[in-house]
C-alpha cells in the first residue's frame, strides 16, 4: 500500500469518456503512452486535481488525495505534486528566479526535501536565473519548468509531453536531465508521451492508452513483448532489453552489451564499461534463420519460438522468441514462416539487423 499508486477515474469531458482503474508502482517512471486524443493528458489533469472526476479514487503511496465515494477531494494546491506542462507555462511577469521561487516559497521549510541549489544544478538553470521567460529557448523553458516543479519537493512528478514542442536537437538536450531525475529522485514520475523512443529510454512501467481507456499496464519490458499489443504500435513494435556495457572495441568503434539474452554488439556511444544501458530491438529488424550462416549481420542470438501473433497487415506475422529469460519480437512475412516451417518450440537463430542503444 505504501509503495503503490491507485488511480481510478471515470469522467466525461464533452463527449469524451475517460475511464481508468490503475494499480501502479509507487516509484520509477510510469509512461502514459498512446496516440493524440487517447486521454493521457486528461488522466494527468485528473491526477493533479486540475480536473475533478465525478467518480474517482486516488491514493499515492498511502496518502489519499481523492475519494469521491465519500466526497473527498484535495484541491491541486494541497497535493504534493509537481506538474510540468507541455509548453512550460512559466509566469511571464516573473524572471526565472521568481518562477523557481514561486512554488518554493509556498512550501513550509520543514517539508522541503529538495534544496534550491540542488534543483538548479540538476537542471542546469543557474546561468538563466536573471532572464525572463520570453528570452528563453524552448528547451531552457522546459528545464526551468521542471526545476520549478521540483522545488516544491513533490511526492509525485507529472510530466506532460515535456519534449513535444521541441525539435530533435532540443530533445537531446533535455533527455539527459530527465534521466538524471529518474536516477537521483526516489519519487514516482508520470511521463506522458506519444514518442516510442522516449518511452523506451525512460520508462520502467508503461500504461498504454486508447480512446480514454487503458489497453495495457505493466512493466515496460514485459508489456512491450506482449503479442497482442504490437498491432497498436505498428512500425514501433519491438522490445527493450536492459544490460550493461561489458567491453569496448576501439578498433571497430563497437561496444559489447551483456544482456541476459546474450551479447549484442552496438556502436560505441562512449558509455564506460559497466554502465547500465538499455537497448531497443524493433520487430522489423529481427529476422529468423534456421542455421547460423556467415552474413553481414553482426548480432545473432540463439532463440526458441514461443508463439505467433497477427500483425497489422495480413501478409505479416509476429513471432515471439525466447532468448535466455528475455523475449524478442520478429516481424516476418507469412510466406517466409511457411517456407522455413516455423513452429512453436523450434530452435532458431535470431538475426538482429539493428540495435538502438538508448
Amino acid at each position: 500500500m505504501m509503495d503503490s499508486i491507485q488511480a481510478q477515474f471515470r469522467v466525461d469531458i464533452g463527449g469524451f469518456a475517460l475511464a481508468t482503474d490503475l494499480q501502479l508502482p509507487g516509484h520509477g517512471v510510469i509512461a502514459l503512452f498512446g496516440p493524440s486524443g487517447s486521454g493521457k493528458t486528461s488522466l494527468l489533469r485528473c491526477i493533479a486535481g486540475l480536473r475533478r472526476a465525478v467518480e474517482a479514487r486516488l491514493i499515492v503511496n498511502g496518502e489519499c488525495w481523492q475519494d469521491e465515494g465519500r466526497g473527498f477531494f484535495l484541491p491541486p494546491h494541497r497535493r504534493a505534486l509537481g506538474y510540468v506542462f507541455q509548453d512550460a507555462n512559466l509566469f511571464p511577469h516573473l524572471d526565472v528566479r521568481g518562477n523557481l521561487e514561486f512554488g518554493l516559497r509556498r512550501v513550509p521549510p520543514a517539508q522541503r526535501r529538495i534544496a534550491r541549489e540542488q534543483a538548479i544544478e540538476l537542471l542546469g538553470v543557474g546561468p538563466l536565473l536573471a532572464r525572463t521567460p520570453a528570452g528563453l529557448s524552448g528547451g531552457e523553458r522546459q528545464r526551468v519548468g521542471i526545476a520549478r516543479a521540483l522545488l516544491t519537493s513533490p511526492r509525485l512528478l507529472l510530466l506532460d509531453e515535456p519534449l513535444a514542442s521541441l525539435d530533435s536537437a532540443r530533445k537531446k538536450e533535455i533527455l539527459p536531465y530527465l534521466e538524471r531525475l529518474h536516477g537521483e529522485l526516489s519519487i514516482p514520475i508520470f511521463y506522458v508521451s506519444h514518442a516510442p523512443d522516449e518511452v523506451a529510454r525512460l520508462a520502467d512501467h508503461i500504461v498504454l492508452m486508447e480512446e480514454g481507456r487503458v489497453l495495457a499496464s505493466g512493466p515496460l519490458v514485459d508489456t512491450l513483448a506482449r503479442l497482442d499489443l504490437p498491432i497498436r504500435l505498428g512500425e514501433d513494435a519491438g522490445v527493450v532489453l536492459a544490460g550493461s556495457i561489458a567491453e569496448r572495441d576501439p578498433a571497430w568503434h563497437l561496444a559489447r552489451v551483456a544482456l541476459d539474452a546474450g551479447d549484442l554488439w552496438v556502436r560505441d556511444s562512449g558509455a564506460p564499461i559497466g554502465a547500465a544501458v538499455r537497448v531497443r530491438v524493433l520487430a522489423r529488424d529481427v529476422s529468423i534463420a534456421l542455421a547460423r550462416a556467415d552474413s553481414s549481420i553482426v548480432n545473432t542470438l540463439s532463440a526458441s519460438i514461443t508463439d505467433f501473433g497477427d500483425d497489422e497487415h495480413p501478409a505479416l506475422l509476429l513471432v515471439r522468441l525466447q532468448v535466455g529469460s528475455e523475449w524478442l519480437l520478429a516481424r516476418l512475412t507469412r510466406r517466409s514462416a511457411e517456407h522455413l516451417g516455423l513452429a512453436v518450440g523450434m530452435r532458431v537463430w535470431a538475426q538482429i539487423k539493428a540495435v538502438a542503444l538508448l
Binding site: 494546491h77 509556498r106 520549478r148
Partner: protein, 231 residues
Amino acid sequence: MLGAEDWSAIRLSVELAALTTLLLLVIGTPLAWWLARTPSRWKGPVGALVALPIVLPPTVLGFYLLVALGPQGPVGHLTQALGFGVLPFTFAGLVVGSVFYSLPFVVQPVQNAFEAIGDGPLDAAATLRAGPLDRFFSVALPMARPGLLTATILGFTHTIGEFGIVLMIGGNIPDKTRVVSMQIYNHVEALDYGPAHGLAAVLLLFTFCILLALYSLGSARGAGGSRERSR
C-alpha cells in the same frame, strides 16, 4: 483667464474622477474576474448590463438613477433609513452616478486582460501550491497589469468628460456638483466665451495627453510582443 469658480470646478472634476476610478477598480476588478472566468449562464446578461452605459444616452441612465436614488425611490428609502439622506444633487450622488456610467470602461479592459491570461498560468500556480485567492493576487493581477492601467486611465478620463449624468442627478451647485463640463456649459449659456475657451482647452489638452500616453504604451507593448514571437 480662469476664475475661482473655474478652478473649483476643475478641482471637483479631478476629485470626482479620482474617487470614481478608485471605487471602480475595487468593484470592477472582481466583477471582471467573474465575467472572465465564470461558466455561468448569467455571464451574458451581466456582461450586457455592464456594457449598457457605452450606448445608452447618459440622460436615460441619469433619469433612472434620479428616480431610484430620489426620496421616493427604493434606493432613496434605503439611504434615508441608513441616515445618509437623499443622494441626488450631492457629491455622493454624483459619485454613484459616475460609477455606473464609467463601469464598462473599467470592467472591459480588465476582463479582456484576465481572459488573455488563459488557464495555463493559473493551472501552473495551482500545482505550485497557490490557493485560489493567492492565484488571483500573485498571478492574475500582475499579469493583467496593462489592462488595469488602461482601465484606470479610461475610467478617469471618461468620468472627467461626463456631462449628461451630472446634469440629471448632480445639478449645478457650485463647489458641490459643478464640474468642469458643467461650468463650460454655464459659460456658454451666459455667452461668456473667454473662460469657456480656457476650460475647454484645459480639458482637451488633458484628455489628449492621457490618450496619447495610453496609445504609445499600447504600441510599445505591441512591438515587444512581436519581438518575442520572432525569437
